[in-house]
């Protein structure tokens, strides 16, 4: 049979089966079990309506329970047993073993970096693009182009970036763009400008923005002594601490920028530069996820009532003040949702690290660590234990989301 035809039939059967379930189960409920006829019509309809949510939910609950719920418990079980001993219960031995491995701690440290940088950068860029393209004529084209990486698989993206990071010996033409640019620097004024002045400006700007944001976060707490119940004090404090840390980080890197002796004229193995290589890997994910953030945030920006912006204009706010003081607070909810989604992606994505460095040169992350344990070392105990750690890391986000969902229900 023609594969196209075969595919079509299979598709029809699959989708039809699904539609059929919903249709016929409802029909049976309404027509056979609790027919809306006869003397008990009213009661029957009521009863049918009590059953119906479960009809609607059944496939979802079934699939979720089976494909996601069950593995969670299975993982928990595996993480407490040892297969080489025939599945004997070993308590926390796997966890102990994992904790003893420096690679694990390296992965934890890197993961923390990823968890801060990638969601922040993706959301930040997404927001920036969403805002900037909002009112320009070719905004939709720009958005489409920036969304494009979403269509590229992680592995494909890794290929693309490997080409970018490629290094060739010094006297041969570089085929990696990054090194080609790097080789242009010679320690002269150009390099001074691009490698020291520019980063200094960027870093100072970044520190400034973060510092200002931190100030905004803390301001309501210290200002106007408790005149108002400030919402989310703990969240604000955490945010503020994070902000202070980021400011400190950027200021200390400033020192690095001016004291470091860049190895001019030598092609760099970007993926092997310790610490920095993490960032080169993160760039890939940021490149992909920005499109996602942008799409959702741009919709949220459009949802802001125009009048509030006009009111701010009349109040004398400049474009930056409008953006930071009027727009951002109003779409905070969306920002957090986007942030959450990307955070979860970060925790789960291992393909990029796997394909580009496989965790070597100190780039290990938890997801790849887990994959390593599961499929290379065939150590299901430790692999499952690390999976549990991944899930644990998500708990704060989970709690927050559950809290939100409950609030919304009320």
């Amino acid at each position: 049979m023609n594969p196209a035809l075969q595919g079509l039939i299979t598709i029809l059967v699959g989708v039809g089966g699904c539609v059929g379930y919903f249709y016929f189960s409802n029909q049976i409920l309404d027509k056979v079990i609790f027919p809306a006829k006869g003397p008990k019509a009213g009661d029957n309809i009521n009863r049918a309506n009590q059953v119906r949510p479960w009809l609607f939910l059944f496939p979802a609950i079934f699939a979720l329970g089976l494909y996601l719920g069950y593995p969670v418990f299975e993982t928990l079980r595996l993480s407490l047993t040892d297969r080489t001993q025939g599945g004997a219960f070993v308590g926390l031995a796997n966890y102990n073993q994992m904790m003893a491995e420096p690679k694990f701690w390296e992965a934890i440290r890197n993961n923390m970096l990823w968890l801060i940088v990638v969601p922040a950068a993706s959301t930040g860029f997404g927001l920036l693009v969403a805002q900037l393209t909002d009112r320009i004529s070719w905004g939709n084209i720009a958005k489409s182009l920036i969304f494009m990486p979403m269509a590229i698989s992680f592995v494909g993206a890794s290929v693309i970036f490997k080409l970018i990071y490629d290094a060739r010996p010094a006297d041969t033409p570089q085929i990696g763009i990054l090194n080609a640019i790097w080789m242009q620097f010679d320690g002269g004024f150009g390099s001074l400008f691009v490698l020291q002045l520019l980063p200094t400006i960027v870093l100072l700007g970044f520190a400034g923005i973060v510092g200002y944001t931190t100030f905004l976060l803390v301001n309501p707490i210290i200002d106007r002594e408790g005149r108002r119940a400030v919402p989310f004090i703990p969240l604000r404090l955490i945010g503020a601490l994070l902000g202070v840390w980021l400011v400190w980080m950027s200021l200390s890197s400033l020192v690095g920028v001016w004291t470091a002796q860049p190895p001019y004229g030598e092609p760099q193995q970007w993926l092997t530069l310790p610490f920095w290589n993490n960032f080169f890997l993160m760039v890939v994910l940021i490149w992909i996820q920005t499109g996602f953030a942008m799409v959702i945030l741009s919709a949220a920006l459009r949802g802001i009532p125009e009048e509030t912006i006009e009111a701010a204009i009349i109040d004398g706010a400049n474009p930056f003040q409008i953006f930071f003081k009027i727009k951002i607070p109003q779409i905070m909810g969306t920002i957090v949702v986007v942030w959450t989604t990307i955070t979860i992606t970060v925790l789960k994505v291992f393909d990029i690290v796997f394909a580009m460095t496989n965790g070597q040169w100190e780039t290990q992350v938890l997801a790849n660590y887990m994959y390593d344990k599961l499929f290379r070392a065939n150590d299901w105990g430790v692999g499952s234990a690390s999976a549990m750690v991944i899930m644990l890391l998500v708990t704060p986000i989970l709690v927050w989301n559950v809290y939100n969902a409950r609030k919304e229900m009320r």
């Binding site: 009048e307 006009e310 009111a311 009349i314 109040d315 004398g316 109003q330």
Partner: protein, 372 residues
Amino acid sequence: MADLKLTKIVKSYGDVEVLHGIDLEIESGEFVVFVGPSGCGKSTLLRTIAGLERITAGTMEIDGRVVNNIPPSERGIAMVFQTYALYPHMTVYDNMAFGMRLAKKSKQEIEDRVRNAADILQLGPYLDRLPKALSGGQRQRVAIGRAICRDPKVFLFDEPLSNLDAALRVATRIEIAKLNETMPDTTMIYVTHDQVEAMTLADRIVVLRGGYVEQVGAPMDLYHKPANLFVAQFIGSPAMNILDGSVASASSGKVAVDVESGGKATVPIAGTGAKAGDAVKLGVRPEDLRIAGKGETPIVNGMIDIVEALGEVTLLYVQVEGHEEAVLAKLPGYHQVERGTAISLTADAEQLHLFDSDGHSMARKAEAKEAA
């Protein structure tokens, strides 16, 4: 303390010209209301004054200074939006303080001004609330308060009451009237759909239609001396009844009209232009109609279609032959009348309005004299 002068203001969106050269002068401290049917350009005109829209041509002057290119925040205006446009993430206090903070006013001054505005509008207890915890009327007051805090020279309102329910609308309207009195130097420009608001608040009303100014004048002038059919029908609620007719005879100072549906009327008109046989339109307000006494020539004969008794007045919808729309009469007091009974209505000659076939009002005798 600002007079506005608009000269040949044109505003186009792309190819669509929305305002076709508006000339308008507004004096310092005046309360001017823009009215007009939906889409006539009221909001657009207001927004060009605010600077939220750039004008395509013409000159806009505030206090003698051309402001065509001055950004909104520097025009000394404040604006209250139909949807309140409160910043949802800020408390009432912050909403009001926002503009002043941006202007780097001192803490003390901000505090003072906010308190002052809150006092005027009785918002004191709500300063720490977020807008979503306020009722509609309170929100609108916050929006007004925010504008007051700016201490503007020109106060702009774009249908500020249309989202409120009837009772609140009345209450807030009165507050705005009071505000106008407490700030006698502030020019206020107010856009509304609502008859009553326009009539009660305005020093002068500007009637707009399709991007043109139809008439400018004090409320009672518009009510009594509409410049044309449009204004006549637009001002006053329920709207003026318009009856087709023709001139039976035109003596100097008096025009006798045969109403198409059979009635007759004589209108005192400064004797210009009208001659027997001309098609004219006769306007008479529902509240001017009364049941024709014996011996009086009725203007309208018809059959009662609907009776609405509102307590102090009774509305009669009278079906008149050859006239599609019912003629509405508003009679004071309570009238027990049956649907379907025949009725004859008349009105005092002084209350009648006559329009030529182009819809222009024919000046009444008294007015013509005045004008002379």
